[in-house]
C-alpha cells in the first residue's frame, strides 16, 4: 500500500463522514467572509432564522468593494455601503471577528488571513472566492465555494465535497533574477491549459518550488485555479515557519503541522517541468492559458487545435492584436500592481527595483495597490512608496481594486493594461479593457517604457 499525499493527510483528518452520494462531509477549520459574496448569504440566513454555529471559526474582512482611492471613505463608492453594513452587522450579531475598512489589518482576504495567522498549516479553509487556493501555499486544504456553500458552512461548519483526485506538479530548476513565481505560474497555466488540473487537487513540489520564498508560493497556488484546480498545496517547511514568524504569528513552527507527501505517495496524475532559463511571461489573449514569453510574437490561431483556434481568433479580435505581431513594444495605457496574486511586500519590492529612479511614461496611468495595510506599512517603512510616487505611480489604499473591478475602479474601454492580477477575461477589468497578465517586474517595466517590455532589460 502506498503512502499518502499531503492533501490526503489533511483531508482524512477533517472527514466527518462519508455521505451516501459519494461526497465527504468535510469539517471546515476556518471560514473566511468578505462583503461581496457573503452579504447575500448572511441575509438569507437571517431571513430563514438560522444561526451561525461557530463564530469562533469564522472571520470576516472588507476587500472586494472598497474604494482604493487615497483617503477613501464610505462615500468614495456608495454601492459598497449596503454590503459593508450587512457584513458588519451580521458579524457583530453573530460574534464573528470583523476587519472593517478602517482596521489596521484590512486588506485582501487571502493576504490578510495568512499574515494574521487566521489560517495555519494543516487547516481546512473555505471562502466564497475561487482564489482561496492561495492559502494552500501554507500547507492547507483551502478552496472556493459558492453562496449556498457559505450558508451551509455558517450553519454547520462542514460541507459535502467530492474527494478530488490528486495531481503532483513537480517543478525543477531555478529562476533567473527578475523572473519570479508569477512567470512560473503563467508558464504552467500555458503548458497545462485552462482545464489541465480540472477536478484535481494539485500538490506543487520539486526544487524550484522549495526555492520559492513564501510569498512566491502564495502567487503560485493562487493561480492554480486558472488551470482548473480547486485546491493547490505546498508542504510547509522552514521557509513557511520563518515567514509566519516574521509576520508575528503565534505558534509558528508548531509540531502539529502536516508533513509533506510520503515518498511513495500515490498521485492520480503527475506532471514534471524544468524551468531553467524561463523568460518573463505575459498573456496575449482573454484567458490566462493564452500566454507566451515576453520576447515571443502573438501566435497564429491556425497553428492551434480547432476549438482553441476559434477561441484564439476571438481573443485576438477583442485584444486588438494580429498573429505574428511582437508583444514587446505594444503601447500600454494602464498598469496595475496589486491583487491577491501579486500584492505582497516582495511583489512591491520587485516592482520598485525595476522602477529605481525612472519615471512612468507620459500618458500611462500606473497604480500600486498594496494587498493589505500590513503590506503597505512594511513597504512605507522601506521607502518603497516614495520610489513609486516619485516615478508617477499612484500609491493607493489596500483592496481588490482593478483585479475584479467591482469597486467602481476600472480600466477604460479599449485601453491596454499590463496587470499583475489573475484574470484577463473579456471585460474583467472594465468593459472593453484589454488585459495582459504579467509579473510585478514586467508591469513596472511596462509603466516605465509605456509599452510591453522585458524587465530583464531594466
Amino acid at each position: 500500500m502506498s503512502g499518502k499525499s499531503l492533501f490526503e493527510k489533511i483531508w482524512e483528518e477533517h472527514a466527518v463522514e462519508e455521505l451516501p452520494g459519494g461526497e465527504t462531509l468535510l469539517y471546515i477549520d476556518r471560514h473566511l467572509l468578505y462583503e461581496l459574496t457573503c452579504a447575500v448569504a448572511l441575509r438569507r440566513l437571517r431571513e430563514a432564522g438560522r444561526r451561525v454555529r461557530r463564530a469562533d471559526r469564522t472571520w470576516a474582512v472588507a476587500d472586494h468593494m472598497l474604494s482604493t482611492a487615497p483617503g477613501r471613505g464610505p462615500e468614495s463608492f456608495p454601492p459598497a455601503i449596503p454590503y459593508l453594513r450587512a457584513l458588519e452587522r451580521s458579524s457583530r450579531d453573530a460574534g464573528i471577528p470583523y476587519v472593517g475598512p478602517d482596521d489596521p489589518r484590512q486588506g485582501i482576504v487571502h493576504v490578510v488571513a495568512a499574515e494574521t495567522g487566521v489560517v495555519l498549516p494543516g487547516m481546512t479553509v473555505a471562502c466564497g472566492d475561487s482564489h482561496t487556493c492561495t492559502l494552500g501555499a501554507l500547507g492547507a486544504v483551502a478552496f472556493g465555494i459558492g453562496t449556498g456553500g457559505i450558508e451551509q458552512v455558517l450553519v454547520t461548519q462542514a460541507l459535502p465535497v467530492r474527494r478530488p483526485p490528486v495531481m503532483a506538479v513537480q517543478v525543477e530548476g531555478g529562476l533567473a533574477s527578475v523572473v519570479c513565481a508569477k512567470d512560473l505560474a503563467l508558464y504552467l497555466i500555458g503548458r497545462l491549459g485552462a482545464e489541465g488540473a480540472a477536478g484535481h487537487a494539485v500538490e506543487f513540489m520539486g526544487s524550484a518550488v522549495r526555492a520559492l520564498p513564501m510569498e512566491g508560493r502564495f502567487t503560485l497556488c493562487n493561480l492554480a485555479v486558472e488551470f482548473g484546480a480547486r485546491f493547490a498545496l505546498i508542504a510547509p517547511d522552514e521557509e513557511t515557519a520563518s515567514w509566519l514568524h516574521a509576520a508575528g504569528v503565534d505558534g509558528a513552527g508548531s509540531t502539529a503541522w502536516p508533513e509533506a507527501a510520503c515518498a511513495d505517495a500515490h498521485f492520480d496524475a503527475r506532471h514534471a517541468f524544468d524551468i531553467d532559463g524561463l523568460a518573463p511571461q505575459i498573456t496575449w489573449g482573454t484567458g490566462p492559458a493564452q500566454v507566451c514569453a515576453v520576447t515571443d510574437a502573438v501566435p497564429d490561431p491556425a497553428s492551434l487545435g480547432a476549438a482553441q483556434a476559434a477561441a484564439a481568433e476571438r481573443a485576438l479580435d477583442y485584444m486588438g492584436l494580429r498573429p505574428g505581431q511582437p508583444l514587446r513594444g505594444l503601447p500600454v495605457d494602464d498598469v496595475f500592481i496589486g491583487s491577491c496574486t501579486n500584492g505582497r511586500l516582495s511583489d512591491l519590492r520587485a516592482a520598485a527595483a525595476v522602477v529605481g529612479s525612472r519615471r512612468v511614461a507620459p500618458g500611462v496611468r500606473a497604480w500600486v495597490v498594496p494587498g493589505s495595510r500590513t503590506v503597505a506599512r512594511a513597504a512605507q517603512a522601506e521607502g518603497l512608496h516614495e520610489i513609486f510616487l516619485a516615478a508617477g505611480f499612484e500609491w493607493r489604499e489596500p483592496g481588490c481594486s482593478l483585479c475584479v473591478a467591482v469597486n467602481g475602479e476600472a480600466v477604460p474601454a479599449g485601453h491596454r493594461a499590463v496587470s499583475t492580477s489573475n484574470r484577463n477575461f473579456e471585460h474583467r477589468q472594465g468593459r472593453g479593457a484589454r488585459t495582459h497578465l504579467a509579473s510585478p517586474a514586467s508591469a513596472a517595466a511596462a509603466a516605465i517604457a509605456g509599452s510591453i517590455a522585458d524587465p530583464r532589460e531594466f
Binding site: 459519494g22 454547520t156 485552462a194 502539529a256 477561441a311 477575461f425
Partner: protein
C-alpha cells in the same frame, strides 16, 4: 428550489470555450444589492452598451432563442470566479439546462445547488446538438433527467449520465441547507472526538 424532471424548450447554441462567470454575470451588476439577475446574464455580450441596448447578433437576442431554457456551450463552462450570481442569472433568465463539453468545478456545484442541470457530453455530441439548434431556431429540445436522455429538435437522441446524488437533488428540488442541518449531530461528535491541539 423547483424540481427538474423534464424540460421541453428551445436550446441556444453558444459554442465558445471557457465561458467564465464574469461573462455570465459581470461583477458591476452586483452594485445593486437587488439587481435584475435575468437582465444581467451575459450583459457584456448581450448589450452593445453592456447595460440595455441589445446586440441583435447575440444568440439570446435572436428570434427563437429568447425563450431558450437550454444552453449549449464549449469546454470549461463556468470557469473563473466562484460567484453563484452566475447561476442565479442563468436561472432567472429561464435556463435550466446547460449542455457543455466540460464544466469548471465550483460552477458545476453551484448549478446543481440551484436546480440548473449541467450535462457534460463529448465535443462531437455537443457540436451536433448545436448544429441542430442553429438549423431550427426555437424548435424544442427535450431534456429528460429521469431517463438521462436528450432529444434534439431533429429527433436525434443522446444519452447522458450524472452522478446519483446530483440527480436526486435536482429531481426532488431539495435545498442543501435543509439536508446540511440534519448532519449537525455527526459534526458535534466529530468536534468532541478531535485530538486536543488541533486547529
Amino acid at each position: 428550489m423547483e424540481p427538474l424532471t423534464c424540460i421541453e424548450a428551445p436550446a441556444a447554441p453558444l459554442l465558445r470555450e471557457n465561458i467564465d462567470t464574469d461573462a455570465l454575470f459581470p461583477a458591476a451588476w452586483a452594485w445593486d444589492f437587488e439587481t435584475d439577475y435575468a437582465a444581467a446574464l451575459f450583459a457584456n455580450w448581450r448589450y452593445l452598451d453592456g447595460r440595455s441596448i441589445e446586440d441583435p447578433d447575440f444568440v439570446l437576442n435572436r428570434n427563437g432563442y429568447r425563450g431558450a431554457r437550454i444552453l449549449i456551450a464549449g469546454g470549461n463552462f463556468g470557469c473563473g470566479s466562484s460567484r453563484e450570481h452566475a447561476v442565479w442569472a442563468l436561472a432567472a433568465f429561464g435556463i435550466r439546462v446547460v449542455i457543455a463539453v466540460s464544466f469548471a468545478e465550483i460552477f458545476r456545484g453551484n448549478a446543481i445547488a440551484n436546480g440548473v442541470l449541467p450535462v457534460s457530453l463529448p465535443r462531437a455530441s455537443v457540436e451536433a446538438l448545436a448544429r441542430a439548434a442553429r438549423a431550427h431556431p426555437g424548435a424544442p429540445f427535450r431534456v429528460d433527467l429521469v431517463r438521462g436522455s436528450i432529444r434534439d429538435c431533429e429527433g436525434n437522441g443522446v444519452a447522458f449520465a450524472i452522478e446519483a446524488a446530483a440527480r436526486e437533488r435536482l429531481l426532488a428540488g431539495v435545498d442543501d441547507i435543509d439536508i446540511a442541518c440534519a448532519r449537525i449531530a455527526a459534526i458535534e461528535r466529530f468536534e468532541a472526538a478531535r485530538p486536543p491541539g488541533r486547529h
